[in-house]
C-alpha cells in the first residue's frame, strides 16, 4: 500500500521529535539553566532561536523541554491506555452490573471538569513528574474507557464474538483474541489524539504554574515565561508554541492516516 504524503510527513516529523527527545543531552548546544546571552535576543548564529527572559538559549531549552513534554505525555497516555482500554473491554464483555458500576464510576470522575480536579490535586501533592503522570494518566483513562467500551460493544454484538461466547471461551480470551485485534486501529488513532491532549494538558498546567517545575522545563512553561514579550514583538514565546503545534500536527497526521482506514472517531478534548 502506498503511503499518502501527509502520513509520510507526519511519521517523519514525529520520529524527529522522538529522536530529539531521546538524545536531548547530546543535541542541546547550551545548558538548560545557565544564561548564555542577553535578555530576549533575536535569533542569531550563536543562538539559533534567540534567548529567553533571563538570557538562556531557547533552542537548548526547547530540546530539553521537548524531552520532558514528550516523556510525560507518552507516559501518561500509555498509563491511560493500558488502564482505560482494559477496563473498557472488560465492561463491554462482562456487561450487567460490572459494566454499570464501572461506567457510573467513570461518569462520576468525568462529571467533574478534569482541569479543576487536576488543579485541586496538584495544589496539594508535591509537584514532581510521577505525580503529574499519574494524575494526567488516571484522568485521561476515563475517556479511553468510554471509547474502548463503545468500540468493544459494537464488536461484542458481532456474530463471531457471539460464536466465541457460545463456544465457551474465557473472557480474557475474548478480550485479547477477538476484541483487541478488531479494535486496534481506532485505539491506535485514539492513542495519537490522547497523546496530543496530554501535551496540551501539561502545557496548560505548566501555564497555570502547576505543571513541570524549575529547573526542569516544558514547552507550556516556556510559553508562560516568555509570553509578556509577545505584545512587543519578541518571538521567544512563539518558538515553544510552534513546537507544541508542530508536534501535535505531526502526531495528528499519523493518527489521521490510521483513522482513515477505519470509520470510527470518538473522544474529545479534555473537558
Amino acid at each position: 500500500m502506498k503511503l499518502p504524503f501527509s502520513a509520510v510527513l507526519g511519521i517523519f516529523l514525529t520520529s524527529s521529535f522522538l529522536f530529539m527527545a531521546v538524545f536531548a543531552q547530546f543535541l542541546a548546544p547550551y545548558s538548560i539553566s545557565d544564561p548564555s546571552g542577553g535578555v530576549w535576543e533575536g535569533p542569531s548564529a550563536t543562538h539559533w532561536l534567540g534567548t529567553d527572559t533571563i538570557g538562556r538559549d531557547i533552542f537548548s531549552r526547547l530540546i530539553y523541554g521537548g524531552q520532558i513534554t514528550i516523556f510525560v505525555a507518552l507516559a501518561s497516555s500509555t498509563l491511560a491506555f493500558s488502564l482505560g482500554a482494559f477496563l473498557g473491554f472488560m465492561a463491554a464483555v462482562k456487561g450487567g452490573w460490572v459494566e454499570q458500576v464501572m461506567s457510573r464510576l467513570v461518569d462520576l470522575v468525568m462529571a467533574i471538569p478534569s482541569l479543576i480536579v487536576a488543579l485541586v490535586i496538584l495544589s496539594v501533592l508535591p509537584l514532581n513528574l510521577t505525580v503529574l503522570i499519574l494524575v494526567i494518566g488516571l484522568l485521561d483513562s476515563t475517556r479511553v474507557y468510554r471509547l474502548s467500551r463503545a468500540v468493544a460493544m459494537d464488536i461484542a454484538v458481532m456474530d463471531y464474538v457471539e460464536a466465541a461466547k457460545l463456544r465457551g471461551e474465557r473472557q480474557t480470551w475474548i478480550i485479547f483474541r477477538e476484541i483487541l485485534p478488531n479494535a486496534l486501529s481506532p485505539l491506535v488513532a485514539e492513542f495519537g489524539l490522547r497523546f496530543i491532549f496530554a501535551v496540551l494538558f501539561i502545557s496548560t498546567l505548566s501555564f497555570l504554574g502547576l505543571g513541570i517545575q524549575p529547573p526542569l522545563t516544558d514547552w507550556g512553561g516556556m510559553v508562560k515565561e516568555n509570553k509578556d514579550g509577545l505584545v512587543y514583538g519578541k518571538s521567544a514565546a512563539l518558538m515553544p508554541a510552534l513546537a507544541i503545534a508542530a508536534l501535535a500536527i505531526s502526531v495528528n497526521l499519523v493518527a489521521d492516516w490510521i483513522l482513515s482506514r477505519t470509520s470510527s472517531l470518538k473522544g474529545g478534548r479534555g473537558g
Binding site: 462520576l108 471538569p113 482541569l115 454484538v157 496530543i196 496548560t204 510559553v223 474529545g268 478534548r269
Partner: protein
Amino acid sequence: MHPVLKLVVQRIALGLILLLAVSAVIFLGIEALPGDTAQAILGQGATEVSLANLREKLGLNEPAITRYFAWLWAALHGDLGVALTNGIDISTAIGQRFGNTLFLASCAAAIAVPLAIILGLVAARYNGRWPDKLISGITLTTISLPEFVAAYFVIFLLTQVFPIFQPVAMVFPGMTFWERLHAVALPVIVLVMVVLAHMMRMTRAAILNVMQSAYIETAELKGLSPMQVIWKHAFPNAIAPIVSVVILNLAYLVVGVVVVEVVFSYNALGQYLVDHVTKRDLPVVQAVGMIFAAVYIGLNILADVITIIANPRLRHPK
C-alpha cells in the same frame, strides 16, 4: 413501558444519583486538602487567636459530615448559603456568573457548530481534493494550539496590531447586547478555534462513513448532485455521531474554559471556582462543582439518549 422510554428514565435517575455522589466526592476532596479555610483566608497574617475566632465564626469546628448534610438539606431547598470568605450570597453571585458562562458558551457555539458542520459537509463533498485538504489543514492547526497560545495570539493581533477589540472581556449588568458581544469577541474567537476542529472532523468522518452505504449509491444513480446527496440522504443518517460530538463540545464550552476566562479576565464560573478552590471556600466549590456536574451529566444523558434512539441494534436488543 416502551424500552427506549424505560432506558431514558433509567438514565435520568442514574444521573441524579450520580449528581449526589459527585457532591460527596467534591466535599471529601476539598476536606482532604491540608490547611483549612480560616488559614487560607488569613494567609501569612494568621495568629492563633484570629484563627480560632474565624473558625468559630465560620462553623468550621463542626464535624465534616454534619456540615455536608446541613449543606445538602439547604441546597435541596434552593439555598446555597453564603461564601465563607466574603459573606456574599452564593446563589446571587453564581446566578450572574452562570449567565456569563452561558453567554460565552452560546456565542461560541452559535458560530462554531454551524461552521463546523458546513465545513465538515464541504470537506466530505470534496473528499481528498484541495478544499478538503485546506479545511483539514486549518482545523488541524487550530486544534493543535493550546488555548492560551491562541489567546495571546489574538490579543496581540486584534488589540495591538489592529486595535479592534479589547483584551479584557468582562461583562457587566447594564451593558447592551452589542456591547457584550464586542466585549467577548476575543474569547469567542479563541473558543471557536478550539472546538471547531473536533466537530468538523467528526461531521466529515460520519458523512464519509454513510456515503459507503448502498442507498447513497442509489441516490447518486438517481442523478442527484453530490451536495444534494450529502444534504438529503447522508446527513440525516449521520446525525447521531455528529450530535453526540456537538454535545460533548457544548459541555466543554460550559465547564472547560477556565484558562480562557483567566487570560481574558472574563467574570464567569470557571474563574470564580478557581478563586474559591484555593481558599477552600467549601459552599462555593460545592455549588459550582454541582452546576458543572449537572450540566455535564445532563448533556451526556442527552447524548446517550440520542445514541440509543439512533442505533437500531441497541434499540431492539436481542
